[in-house]
Amino acid sequence: MEHQTPSPDTREHLVVIGNGMAGCRAVEELIARDPTRYRVTIFGAEPHVNYNRIMLSPVLAGEKTFEQIVINDHAWYATNTIELVTSDPVQAIDRAAKTVTARSGLTVSYERLLIATGSDPFIIPVPGKDLPGVISFRDMADVDHMLEAAGKGGAAVVIGGGLLGLEAAHGLTLRGMKVTVIHLMPTLMERQLDEAAGWLLKSALEARGQVILTEANTAEIVGDTHVEGVLLKDGTVIPASLVVMAVGIRPSVALARDAGLEIGRGIKVDDHMVTSDPSILAVGECVEHDGNVYGLVAPLWDMCRALANGLTDSHSGYRGSVTSTKLKVAGLDVFSAGDFSGGGACEDIVLRDASRGIYKRVVVKDDRIVGAVLYGDTTDGGWYFDLLKRAEDIAPIRDMLIFGQSFASGGGAADPKAAVAALSDDAEICGCNGVTKGKVVACIGAGNTTLDAVRATCKASASCGSCTGLVETLLAVTLGDEYSGERLVKTMCKCTSFGHDDVRREIVAQGMRSIPEVMQKMSWSTPDGCSSCRPALNYYLLCALPGDYKDDQQSRFVNERLHANIQKDGTYSVVPRMWGGLTNPRELRAIADVVEKYDAPMVKVTGGQRLDIFGIKKEDLPAVWADLNAAGMVSGHAYGKSLRTVKTCVGSDWCRFGTQDSTGLGVKVERMTWGSWMPHKFKIAVSGCPRNCAEATIKDFGVVCVDSGYELSVGGNGGMKVRATDFLCKVATEEEAMQYCAAFIQLYREEARYLERTAPWIERIGVEYIRERIAEDPEGRDALAARFLFSQQFTQDDPWAARAAGEHREQHAPMARFTPIDGTREMA
């Protein structure tokens, strides 16, 4: 000990276990209130004085030195006559004798004991976890290890894409290592960020050269005497000479548990941080208060205040904390606070500024902020957090809340129109095209009185669209009552100001690859869209990126997700494919067996000449498919926005009128087109002569065989509004008929809006256009057909077979089953 007191110190002895953030802060608070009351001894497991743990990330990144992050140096301990025992962890507490014993054997008696042991990093129990080169990210020693490894260069794997893992990955990248982050969840920092912000973060990190593997599960850490790599459950091996595990922390409670203190998830404490033993206190990450444990510093400060108040006999206690987080990675501004999960009574106010890479989401409930996620611009994080903690009524500033503090309080303008009106003429409105307010106003003045006219003329809001709201406000301000506020183009849904065509065009033009990317780049106003835009976006991406796009199951309507038709009682109907409407005894027998085996209450011939088995339970679907597959039958896609059936007549083989083999052609066409996803359901028919028994002239694509060839017609529909087809053209051979069919389907797939059948589509664009593209443009037709056939190679897999083999099994089976033991008592 550095400081010697001349006479024996008779003050009450407070022993602190843990020389970390909370332990020392508690002592500081205590000294601030009454410097004379306690004699203090602090035990620390680490060799250091008290330092700022959260600054380890900047130390790793080379932005700070250890000296710069010391909170209390040796002089502080000396001045306050605090005895500091370093590198000597306490190993036992004897509550009866009121002593603690450290590893060195040193035993000290206490009157009050404060446990502030913090957390232990969680180490996932995989083989190889104990190999040299596998470390956690918790203290200065870990940082030293990482720096040493980084000095040798090479590759590192960080397991865990949370706050800590990403900060470690950032530091190691700056130190020159090739870093791969393995994250179990679909998006990074899923506890702090929503999917949209998580996606932006991932893109930004990838742009910095890190490899981010989401939904990746570690199976094993490989190596002989030192780590050599990480093996994932899917078989991938990532070579690495350093593995950092940052998958979470657990309150460090072993010592307290051995001493017999009451433990929950952490050491249980009351509002003054007193444990189940009145002479023992606990503070920091190692405690559980009112059912909560915390892993951030802000709550510790509150706890330390409450603790010091208790120890100095003043009474305000700890009431729990609301927390906020920031990622400390230079150039990546990420902030999150409170609860942003939304819910019924919650409203999301979302701002996406694609050109500046900004995403802001504020969740409001009953005119109070309950949560916020900010990405790219976090300047207002503190302001939102403050409004949240104070439960301030935000109704008066609601319209401008999302623009931030300076905007919302600027000039006392309680009206977004006034705020926009107050902008100077050279304020930039459209970042993408560099259009100022002055230019937009001039453009409106010149007679462009709609959003689309403004877009067409001065280009404001014509690119990413994030300034659409501003331009609309400018229209309203400039035109006053003249501005109707109505868009000419109907928007896709309430989540966006763009129409379907704009979205499709931009997906292709900007090469967008995922739903979150579209939502960000096109400024969606909701965090994850709605049940109308998500299925549409999923389809557009699927169509634009055949073979590449990863289908999003959760953006599909239940019928497509379960590959069967949902019926009103919650059971499903199943329609196996019968090529061209043909069947045989084996198939019929298999269907009959399924009907009996699964107790299907009804079998029916559909309008498209197929057999529909009704009343199958969700959990039986995979077994039904397996049975039908065994008889050689595949899914009829009767549930999908996809090619349904090709209806045929008997044609020249049997019919005395038949001119061509309509059945054979129907089978070929179905073999070519099955499995294709479309904007809406799609039906084809082939009739053998103009008597048209297959009703080909009310199908999306119809073929009527005649003596001299094949008459092709399109856009027919037997639905709510019956529409006969438009004649497309006549061709001479089966091959041509097939090629025209493929080209037509592809044109429809690429250009129609989601949920638009061919009939309204053709009425909208005119059949002339279709003729130009298909009948009169041989090269264009070839290209369309080629694109169709190319994409078909990825989708002509029977979805039933995959499901019967166990894919997405979880969608069919319940997660758990319960049988009440005693109904009456349980339900009381």
Partner: protein, 112 residues
């Protein structure tokens, strides 16, 4: 002694923006949802409109769209949103150590 919380499995077993069901013998199913930002909710698997299986709907924000007629139901209150009126029983859920726990009394009541 019957515990008040039913342990039904790991959070990861519920797809993000998706759901799973829990079967109660002799009663209706419970639908357990996981939202885009990882929160877990449970409702009786029964739309207040005509009994559609909410578990089969599309989850977006804090709501689910019923697969039958597209009513939107708030996951935290069970209330139909927008113009529609109706309510589905809500079952309190806890997530602890990655496990999903359902309130037993509410589960049995909702399934009855």
């Amino acid at each position: 002694m019957i515990g008040e919380w039913l342990d039904i499995g790991w959070v990861d077993e519920i797809p993000v923006r998706g759901s799973r069901t829990v079967q109660v013998t002799g009663g209706g199913d419970i639908a357990v949802f996981r939202t885009g930002d990882g929160k877990v909710f449970a409702l009786a698997d029964r739309c207040p409109h005509k009994g559609g299986r909410l578990s089969q709907g599309i989850v977006h924000g804090g709501a689910v769209a019923c697969p039958l007629h597209n009513w939107r139901i708030a996951l935290d209150t069970g209330e139909a949103l927008g113009e529609d009126k109706g309510c589905t029983p809500v079952i309190p859920v806890k997530v602890s150590g990655g496990r999903v726990l359902l309130c037993r009394t509410a589960t049995m009541k909702a399934a009855a």
